[in-house]
């Protein structure tokens, strides 16, 4: 049986097609659905094994990035929380990460409160460039298993500066290795160079850079022949393997 991934989008979610392509390439069935189809019960969260919140500018990122999409998801809290609790893999990429943070699902806490934010880059505007990332091998994260010490991925965001609610929260993330990826050369001013965080079980993961955009070697900015698949492939392969 092929594991099934739901690629959940809202208005102005943009990276749904390439995220679906990534899951499909790794052997999963990937369905793309609008949040309204889930809210209306046309598509059911429970019939999927994996969930991805792709990149984009959901609802224009008006008010703040990912906020309106997060408010919509919060109206189906129970279903989403069950999905996470069942230890099914959930990944939020870029805008998807912003949504996971704005819903309060990341950083994980029992009360479902907001414990962090993703704030305007230090540069004050959107930046699109390739960044090097250090992989935290001690992290429980399902998606980053077996990745090399350092990888590179493109980032493309305006609001990606990670800020924890307080010092305690930040210390917890570091101490429990809940940050699977760190920037080698911090591009946006994130606290502790954090590029992404996960929950303690490792099934829920959000990050700002885009693994689906460094899935094939030919997507790299340095043109060199180094095999067909690239570092980003492993993120999706890990999730699909985990479900098998």
């Amino acid at each position: 049986m092929k594991p099934k991934a739901l690629i959940l989008r809202g208005a102005a979610t943009n990276c749904d097609l390439e995220t679906a392509a990534a899951f499909r390439y790794c052997g999963a069935i990937a369905d793309i659905a609008h949040i309204n189809e889930v809210l209306k019960g046309i598509k059911k969260l429970s019939s999927y094994d994996m969930l991805a919140l792709p990149g984009g500018f959901s609802y224009g990122d008006d008010i703040s990035a990912g906020k309106i999409f997060a408010l919509k998801i919060r109206t189906l809290r129970k279903d989403f929380e069950k999905f996470i609790k069942d230890e099914k893999p959930v990944i939020g990429i870029c805008n998807g990460f912003q949504v996971l943070v704005k819903t309060g699902y990341l950083p994980e806490n029992r009360e479902g409160l907001r414990r962090a934010s993703l704030f305007l880059n230090d540069a004050g505007h959107f930046i699109c460039k390739w960044v090097k990332l250090k992989i935290n091998k001690k992290s429980p994260c399902v998606f980053t298993r077996g990745l090399p010490d350092e990888i590179e991925l493109p980032m493309a965001h305006g609001e990606g500066k990670f800020i924890a609610a307080d010092k305690k929260e930040l210390e917890k993330i570091i101490a429990k290795n809940l940050s699977p990826v760190f920037y080698s050369d911090n591009p946006n001013g994130s606290q502790a160079d954090i590029a992404g965080i996960c929950n303690e079980k490792g099934n829920l993961f959000g990050l700002m850079p885009h693994p689906e955009r460094n899935f094939f070697s030919l997507q790299k900015q340095k043109k060199e022949s180094k095999g067909f698949l690239s570092e980003g492939y492993l993120f999706f392969k890990n999730a699909v393997d985990y479900c098998r």
């Binding site: 609802y59 224009g60 008006d62 008010i63 703040s64 906020k67 309106i68 408010l71 919509k72 919060r74 109206t75 704005k102 907001r114 414990r115 962090a116 934010s117 704030f119 305007l120 230090d122 004050g124 800020i163 609610a165 001013g189």
Partner: protein
């Protein structure tokens, strides 16, 4: 009711620097500058509802704070407001309305959005001009001292 959202001082350093840089181009004696977003919401809501809108919808309370009032003033700062002129589509208001619905506030009659710039070190007319020169387009924006 006016809900005003602004960055917490500890995170506002970059925002201030960039505002000052822009303004100092025209008025080198500018001392300090801040910026707020404004949402004016009309509807049959109670004060507590507006407070909840600020907290749950418009304000990112990790990095931002908000005030419910139309007359927030900061000592030594000129407050200059900027709104779309009548007849110009306020696109942010459309999104704000959608957000309120998702958060359960379904009786909104009208929303208007705008910005307030707080500027220190300039006279009233200078502050107003600075906003016109640096941030507004007078074809579509209305700029005035609060």
């Amino acid at each position: 009711m006016t809900i005003e959202v602004f960055t917490k001082d500890i995170f506002a350093e970059n925002e201030r620097k960039s505002l000052i840089k822009k303004i100092s181009h025209f008025y080198p004696n500018v001392k300090d500058a801040k910026e707020s977003k404004i949402y004016i919401v009309e509807g049959p809501y109670k004060k507590n509802d507006f407070f909840k809108m600020g907290k749950d919808v418009f304000c990112d309370f990790i990095s931002e704070d908000f005030a419910i009032s139309s007359g927030r003033k900061l000592k030594d700062f000129m407050a200059v407001e900027m709104f779309f002129k009548q007849g110009i589509t306020d696109v942010l208001a459309q999104s704000a309305a959608e957000a309120l619905i998702a958060a359960g506030f379904k009786k909104t009659k009208k929303i208007k959005t705008g910005k307030v710039f707080y500027i220190k070190g300039l006279k009233e007319s200078e502050a107003q001009n600075a906003v016109k020169e640096c941030f507004a387009n007078e074809l579509i924006h209305r700029v005035g001292i609060r």
